[in-house]
């Protein structure tokens, strides 16, 4: 009966295998996501092949067992036989499974070798796992030099909190949508280089058949070549702390022309955003800019009200660092801090730009009940502190 449901399980997803779908999971999905790379197709077929073999064995073995259960029972007056050994039978059911296992392993070998072949990539992208977002740097190929952070774009008002119902209707891509998607051209070999800043994360996109751990201090790579235009969604797959479920991955596969347009647009936007670190800002400008930086980077731990989480994350409201000398505050931002008062460390934020760091420091020094004596930090001071 369960065996039958297993067989049926395969059918609905086979039916949608040609359908572009959402590029992510669908309700009541019972099989792997529709594959869009050669490797994912091979994985899909390997899984189907394995399922067929397992189902045949399952039916054969349990057919015998249930036949025995129904026929060889005492209530039917069946008398027990006395046999308890047979070398030839033992040899047979050692050798046959061995051969079956070889039949399973051989087709898989080719795919294993294919998955590891990251040579001759058209574009190389580095993904950096951070608690709890992804950073992307286009290292080589068209789009080289593009870099951005990608964070969950589902608002917290859709998630809710214990005892606090969500105030907003959940969208279609709840928890699998980000502010900045990775964009890649279709039919080009993309080599992903992975690393992490803090703990181990894992970059996975099921439709591509890609999953690779991002390990701090080490660089690992994998690759994919998407054969269809669309938006494909994945998740961080290695437990990385409290927001593990909230750092999805979204890859937009576009045509070669659209990719060119995106690269140009992204480069212009980056040039516009690249602030001149020698510019002197007013305090209000910095506060406005700083609030944005705070919301996208700091709020997860330090909270909107700046009070942190008792026993887990430091409060900024009333903090001695935030209200004290600015040199120390800049130092903590650039290098991180493990004071020992809390289990987790404040990470280093040197990947933010000079202006962004100056803005967020100025914002926290003037927000909530904080009234720091040294209430403004200019980007130039960050430039100096970095040296």
């Amino acid at each position: 009966m369960l065996g039958l449901s297993l067989t049926l399980a395969g059918i609905p997803a086979w039916a949608v295998a040609t359908d572009p779908g959402t590029g992510g999971p669908v309700p009541y999905q019972m099989n792997l996501q529709p594959p869009v790379t050669q490797i994912a197709v091979e994985i899909y077929d390997l899984h189907t092949w394995m399922m067929i073999i397992c189902m045949v064995i399952f039916v054969a073995v349990f057919g015998v067992m249930f036949y025995s259960i129904f026929k060889h029972r005492k209530s039917l007056g069946h008398k027990p036989a006395t046999f308890h050994e047979s070398t030839s039978v033992e040899i047979a059911w050692t050798v046959i499974p061995f051969l079956i296992v070889i039949g399973m392993a051989l087709p898989a070998t080719k795919t294993v070798v294919g998955m590891k072949d990251t040579s001759n990539a058209d574009i190389t992208i580095k993904a950096t796992g951070m608690q709890w977002k992804w950073g992307y740097d286009y290292l080589k190929g068209e789009g080289e030099g593009i870099a951005f952070l990608s964070t969950l774009s589902t608002p917290r008002s859709q998630v809710g909190a214990p005892g606090l119902a969500p105030t907003e209707q959940r969208g279609e891509n709840y928890l699998i949508e980000v502010d900045n998607e990775v964009v890649v051209p279709v039919n080009k070999k993309i080599r992903m280089v992975l690393t992490a800043n803090d703990v181990i994360h894992a970059w996975s996109v099921p439709a591509f058949g890609v999953k690779q751990d991002a390990i701090p201090g080490f660089v690992r790579d994998t690759w994919f070549k998407a054969e269809r235009i669309g938006t494909f969604r994945g998740n961080c797959a290695e437990l990385c702390g409290k927001e593990h479920a909230f750092m999805p991955i979204v890859v937009k596969v576009v045509s070669a022309d659209d990719y060119k347009v995106w690269v140009d647009g992204k480069k212009k936007a980056m040039a516009a955003l690249a602030d001149d670190p020698s510019k002197t800002w007013t305090i209000d400008e910095l506060k406005v800019r700083g609030e944005k930086i705070y919301t996208s980077n700091c709020v997860v731990c330090h909270q909107t009200n700046g009070k942190g989480v008792p026993g887990a994350f430091a409060a900024l409201d009333g903090s001695t660092v935030v209200n004290g000398a600015k040199a120390q505050h800049i130092h903590v931002m650039l290098n991180g801090q493990q004071s020992g008062a809390y289990p987790s460390a404040m990470p280093a934020w040197k990947q933010l730009s000079d202006t962004e760091i100056a803005a967020v420091i100025t914002y926290t020094r003037n927000n909530w009940s904080n009234k720091a004596a040294e209430n403004i930090v200019q980007p130039a001071e960050i430039v100096a502190a970095r040296k």
Partner: protein, 527 residues
């Protein structure tokens, strides 16, 4: 087989202590076995409550009941408590009760060490429970405690490390005791190849434990010194390697899987012949298959780490080695079915649980085989498919075998027969609710839902709801087992005969039920 002198407790009343002292200073293998079993029941229910809290949060998308940091503590502690607190001690309890009775020994070899190895466990359990109350809460890095996430944790992680040290020391002492007892204290005439299968599987398991528990102790000690004493074993910035932790952990962790399932194979191999009224098919091949599984379990650990990105040769080696384990495991399943074939079967609760075990455990075996294939594993690693797989082998495998063993041997332990009707209720409800809980998780995993997620995309809602409903059913069924089967059976009921099962074989059935405090003071002779 010789008969034993009945009831020694009268002439030995001076060494049959009562009250608290009986348990605190227990040196009798039966008392210690009972302590182990009660301990594991307590941990089974504690871990079960954590599991139901997990399922409660996952009933719907969104965060309704627990913050994600607390959710991670729940999953971590559920794993630690079930593996080290419930399943392992339960099998040690079975070993303490049954091995001396099965081999005709008067007690375990080292009675006082036996006491010590049990009494290390309650402090470990207290450390785990207290850790929920320290700042930052309990360890939340998963039961695998991967560095460097485990280095980030609060003092809860240190408590978990100490608890694991204690439980590891307890397991090592228990194993030494079992090995020495089996090798030296068998009744005259009982050669190794005449030993009951339960003793054989435990002998092999005990060697596995001695080999790998020190490895775990090493891994968590290195984590401890990384956390507090400035070492960098697993810290890349200091020249260490986070992946090294995984290698060391899984060198322990994979044999650990077999530590939890081999004694279960032993239990099933005892029960099937008893209710098929026919000797175990292929006794010798069962012994060799068990030994092969144990040896192979040392060379497959990195199949837990395919996504860390190892060289293609390692991936292929670990894939082939892992798939090879399917061969001896298959031999065991075929032998069991051949034991049933042409038998004269009856279906009391121990038999039902044993057949249920074979049926559902084999499904876990198939998903294990599918996961062994590296490309599929990379697709499914850290998804709910893996969660489904290991619950099929650990719940429907180990736990169902423990239930089967309970129904089979409880007449010997308590002197009373359990209610057959209630036992059958327990079986059918467990089997059905187990599958409602864990079967949908295969679909969730295939669709790509990662494990250890406090919240999930709404597309996964329906199967999660189903799993939560099943989990509560399974939890209630186990409460029924405790309140309406275990406790009433201890209190009274139909008196059990010395050999309550028509087809049962073995020395344990030659002593009265309940087994007197001292048995086999004069060893029986086995022909």
């Amino acid at each position: 087989m010789s008969t034993t002198t009945l009831d020694h407790s009268h002439d030995h009343s001076h060494d049959h202590p009562h009250g608290l002292q009986r348990w605190l200073f227990a040196t009798n293998h039966k008392d210690i076995g009972t302590l182990y079993l009660w301990f594991s029941i307590a941990m089974l229910f504690s871990g079960g409550v954590l599991a139901l809290m997990i399922r409660t949060e996952l009933f719907q998308p969104g965060l309704q009941f627990f913050q994600p940091e607390f959710f991670n503590q729940l999953t971590t502690m559920h794993g630690v408590m079930m593996v080290f607190g419930a399943i392992m001690p339960a099998f040690v309890g079975f070993a303490n009760w049954m091995i001396p009775l099965q081999i005709g020994a008067s007690d375990m070899a080292f009675a006082r060490m036996n006491n010590f190895s049990f009494w290390l466990l309650p402090p470990a359990a207290i450390l785990l429970i207290v850790s929920f109350m320290v700042p930052g809460g309990a360890a939340a890095g998963g039961w695998t405690m991967y560095a460097p996430l485990s280095t980030q944790m609060g003092p809860g992680m240190d408590l978990a490390i100490f608890a694991l040290h204690l439980m590891g020391a307890s397991s090592i002492m228990g194993s030494i005791n079992i090995i020495v007892t089996i090798l030296n204290m068998r009744a005259p005439g009982m050669t190794l190849m005449k030993m009951p299968m339960f003793c054989w599987t435990w002998l092999i398991t005990a060697y596995l434990l001695i080999a790998v528990m020190p490895v775990l102790a090493g891994a968590i000690t290195m984590t401890l010194t990384d956390r507090h004493f400035g070492t960098s074993f697993f810290n890349a910035a200091g020249g260490g390697d986070p992946v090294m932790f995984q290698h060391i952990f899984w060198f322990f962790g994979h044999p650990e899987v077999y530590i939890m399932i081999l004694p279960a194979f032993g239990v099933i191999s005892q029960i099937l012949p008893a209710f098929a009224r026919k000797p175990l098919f292929g006794y010798a091949s069962m012994v060799y298959a068990t030994a092969s599984i144990a040896i192979l379990s040392f060379v497959v650990w990195a199949h837990h780490m395919f996504t860390t990105g190892m060289p293609v040769t390692s991936q292929l080696f670990f894939m082939y080695a892992t798939m090879l384990i399917a061969v001896p495991t298959g031999v065991k399943v075929f032998n069991w079915i051949a034991t049933m074939w042409q038998g004269s079967m009856t279906f009391e609760t121990p038999m039902l649980f044993s057949i249920g075990f074979i049926f559902v455990f084999t499904m876990g075996g198939f998903t294990g085989l599918i996961l062994a294939v590296t490309p599929i594993d990379i697709q499914l690693q850290d998804t709910y498919y893996v969660v489904a797989h290991f619950h099929y082998v650990l719940v429907a495998g180990s736990l169902f075998a423990l239930f089967a063993g309970f129904y089979y041997w409880s007449p010997k332990w308590t002197g009373y027969m359990y209610s057959e009707f209630r036992g059958k209720m327990h079986f059918w409800l467990s089997l059905i609710t187990f599958n409602i809980t864990f079967f949908p998780m295969h679909f969730l995993g295939l669709a790509g839902m990662p494990r250890r997620y406090a919240d999930y995309p709404a597309q996964f809602t329906d199967f999660n709801m189903l799993a939560t409903i099943g989990a509560f059913g399974f939890g209630l069924t186990q409460a029924y087992f405790l309140l309406f089967i275990i406790i009433p059976t201890i209190r009274g009921g139909k008196k059990a005969e010395a050999k309550p099962w028509e087809g049962a074989e073995g020395l344990e059935w030659t002593v009265p039920s309940p087994a007197p405090f001292h048995t086999f003071e004069f060893p029986p002779t086995v022909k």
